[in-house]
């Protein structure tokens, strides 16, 4: 064992030295991008377009999830740290502090557009689904108000919540807690649904955002809500197999599978580019990317890449990002954004 260890160690150290030397000798010419799996397809599109148009080395785009991306992004300045991270929510104050403490002080925030969170069901399901956020909350929260106090969710069928809803079991596949999609769903659907519940309103708890966050954030664990991992294609397959199951995922997956899946309307509105863009569809979220300004001009092509990301060809309605499902900002917001991001405005403290 000793000898083995010694051998392995000698080999590893020798190779490590060689590797470090080789890396140090050649400055990084590829842009490194991490971050949210929701922003990933858009960054993919920009990076492919960028390397095709400019002939520059193609960026390395990794899908790490919003939180994982922030951790890598804020770990420091320099070649071994990524230049850009995508996020399906804005940077948290804890992440901002992490960035600051590691010397990543000059960061630009770019809100690139909106993404709708869709609830979808198989087209073979005959019912015409239209839910309110309150009904979604009552179906999927771990604890709901029953008889004047918060109790474990007793509902097993949609008809238990509202007799007008179909008499079919509640079953929803959704993203795991590590996912930005889950954070967004909890915040946009569960919290709002919770706040609109009559008993919670009566108690005056709806205005108490701390109480709402504490009591309405947990999804139920007793079966009707299933955490399905980060692979949205798997959820799509499950929905095709089980016609009573619903799936919660980004709008782009629904859009690509509209032949087998149909959206569940929320408050009577079904998600599409228009309803997400004008905010009439209630669960849509902003998408961001963050970039280190200290890397601009140092990492080859970073500034050009950001300019490609900010170009009208990419961002405008009808641009190639909207073809992939991004819902574009309106003209004036977009112009302000392009100005701020291309010049590299430092973001404000969170």
């Amino acid at each position: 064992m000793l000898l083995l260890n010694e051998c392995a160690k000698a080999g590893v150290i020798g190779l490590a030295a060689a590797a470090v030397g080789a890396v140090a000798a050649s400055a990084r010419d590829q842009i490194q991008i991490v971050g949210s799996s929701t922003v990933f397809p858009y960054t993919q599109a920009v990076s492919e377009q960028f390397s095709n148009m400019s002939g520059a080395a193609s960026p390395v785009v990794e899908s790490t999830g919003t939180g994982g991306g922030m951790k890598l992004f804020c770990a420091g300045i320099g070649e071994s740290h990524p230049d850009l991270t995508g996020a399906s929510r804005s940077m948290k104050s804890s992440e901002y502090e992490l960035c600051q403490s590691n010397g990543v002080t000059d960061v630009t925030e770019a809100l690139i557009g909106f993404d709708g969170l869709s609830i979808a069901i198989s087209r073979d399901n005959s019912a015409d689904w239209d839910l309110t956020l309150e009904e979604i909350f009552l179906a999927l929260a771990a604890q709901i108000p029953v008889d004047g106090k918060m109790q474990d969710n007793p509902h097993q069928k949609w008809s238990d919540i509202n007799p007008d809803l179909p008499d079919s079991p509640i079953l929803a596949f959704g993203p795991p807690p590590t996912s930005g999609t889950r954070d967004a769903f909890v915040e946009l659907a569960m919290h709002v649904g919770c706040e609109s519940h009559p008993w919670i309103k009566e108690q005056g708890l709806a205005e108490d955002s701390g109480w709402v966050k504490e009591n309405c954030s947990r999804m139920r664990q007793d079966g009707p809500f299933v955490e399905a991992g980060e692979n949205d294609n798997l959820i799509v397959q499950r929905l095709n197999a089980d016609t009573t199951a619903m799936g919660i995922f980004g709008y782009s997956f629904l859009y690509e599978n509209l032949d087998t899946l149909k959206p569940v309307k929320i408050n009577g509105v079904s998600p599409d580019v228009e309803t997400i863009g004008d905010n009439s569809y209630p669960i849509s979220r902003p998408l961001y990317f963050y970039t280190k300004n200290a890397h601009r001009g140092v990492i080859q092509g970073l500034q050009e890449f950001i300019e490609e990301y900010m170009s009208e060809e990419a961002l405008a309605p009808g641009g190639y990002l909207s073809e992939r499902g991004l819902v574009a900002l309106n003209d004036s917001d977009r112009a302000a954004l392009q100005e701020a991001v291309i010049t590299g405005q430092t973001m404000n403290a969170k």
Partner: protein
């Protein structure tokens, strides 16, 4: 004598009485064995055929032959490689569909071609400036929805708003198809192109080269270290409690889940040594940690099977222990060691979890030029494609799995071939 006879009769009676039962038991065992093999084959058959049926579509790609007039008014030879190649292609399509006039209709029409067509045209013009002002015939891939339509994967009976192609696009495609310019040749792009977000352009080139570098590094590290450890343990180490402990540790190491090695690599190689993320070099080092115990075990077994008489004969004519090992034992054990190594490498080729942890699941639209360039590997490429929303990636995922299986079968066959060819019985 009498007693003997009685005993004999009694035994043969018992044997005769038991015989049908024993035969029946043996028969059941044989049937169970055949059943087990059939079940295993059935599973394999289901796996491969389901992959094949979802994946074979990806081995062809719909192409169209179109005549493109390289208009000198649109393309300026002095401004290349910049230029509006898209306009040239749109004009070429309008030649075929002259009724298309409005801007939005033109955009719709252009979507029939793959996004990569404009770059294909650009590269053609840049490499040969004399085509400016002439008409060139290009064989270009169609975009994913039309590829699906041509392969019959889009049901024309579904209502228009639920389809990825509308009625007008279908009729345009049918008109184009009627003129005989549509073909579906073997999809070489699947093997020769790097990754792309467009299914019709996406290929495994980056993943294949990344896997090659990772396996090469893995081999260079695990093979010599593994053999060195095996030689010491088998030929030099004293047999005592410590060597027993080492044996148990190595066997345990071979059974450690691969994700653990991934976490180790993330902390040590990337964290402490500051090596680059997503590099096949780091991937190869991680896989080497996994492959090393397999190589050690295989090499020890191969050396153990060499008869002692060979060692003793060599020692008898005055060879040193070192000469015995390198002159006799190692050459004779080599086929067995290579077989074990190849099987270990085949395992490493299919390993996904450690590579995910060190970031080899990135999207990169170019193949790596060396082991330090970021890249993906075959299994992580499958992982990325399986997670892509576009329909075309469903069949490409299966096709990529078939390619991976092809490599695994080739490697395992090589191992069997080596064993058959060079194995000696003593």
């Amino acid at each position: 004598m009498v007693a003997d006879k009685i005993g004999h009769t009694a035994i043969s009676d018992i044997v005769a009485a038991n015989l049908p039962r024993r035969k029946r038991k043996q028969g059941i065992l044989v049937i169970l064995g055949i059943g087990a093999i059939l079940t295993a084959f059935l599973m394999l058959f289901i796996l491969v055929s389901s992959l094949f049926f979802s994946g074979y579509h990806a081995f062809t790609q719909t192409h169209a032959e179109i005549d493109v007039f390289v208009d000198p008014e649109v393309i300026d030879a002095n401004k290349l490689p910049r230029g509006n190649f898209r306009e040239l292609l749109t004009n070429a399509l309008i030649e075929i569909f002259p009724e298309v006039e409005s801007r939005s209709e033109k955009t719709e029409l252009y979507r029939m071609l793959s996004h990569g067509t404009q770059f294909q045209l650009r590269d053609m013009i840049v490499s040969d400036l004399s085509v400016i002002g002439t008409t060139v015939t290009m064989k270009v891939p169609l975009s994913d929805p039309f590829d699906q339509l041509n392969k019959g994967l889009i049901d024309r009976k579904t209502p228009e708003e639920q389809r990825r192609v509308n009625n007008q696009q279908i009729s345009q495609f049918d008109r184009l198809s009627a003129t005989g310019v549509i073909s579906a040749p073997f999809n070489w792009n699947l093997l020769t192109n790097p990754d792309s977000r467009f299914p019709e352009l996406a290929g495994l080139r980056g993943a294949l080269i990344g896997s090659f570098w990772a396996l090469l590094i893995c081999f260079l590290l695990s093979f010599p270290v593994g053999i060195g450890a095996a030689i010491y343990l088998e030929e030099f180490a004293p047999k005592n409690r410590i060597s027993d402990l080492i044996e148990v540790s190595i066997n345990n190491l071979a059974a450690v889940p691969s994700v653990v090695f991934g976490l180790l690599a993330l902390a040590v190689f990337i964290g402490w040594f500051g090596m680059p993320r997503s590099a096949p070099f780091v991937g190869g080092m991680t896989l080497a940690l996994m492959t090393m115990p397999t190589v050690i075990i295989a090499a020890r077994a191969a050396m153990k099977s060499i008869p002692n008489s060979i060692r003793e004969a060599a020692l008898g004519v005055g060879a040193s222990r070192q000469q015995v090992v390198f002159g006799h034992v190692l050459p004779l054990a080599m086929p067995g060691i290579l077989t074990g190594t190849i099987i270990g490498l085949a395992q490493a080729l299919g390993e996904t979890a450690p590579l995910l942890l060190i970031g080899m699941n990135a999207f990169i639209t170019s193949a790596p030029a060396g082991p330090f360039d970021s890249s993906t590997a075959l299994p992580t490429q499958i992982f990325i494609w399986a997670d892509s929303p576009e329909r075309g990636f469903v069949s490409r995922t299966s096709a990529a799995i078939l390619v991976l299986l092809g490599f695994l079968i080739a490697m395992n066959s090589l191992a069997i071939f080596l064993r058959r060819q060079f194995e000696r019985n003593w």
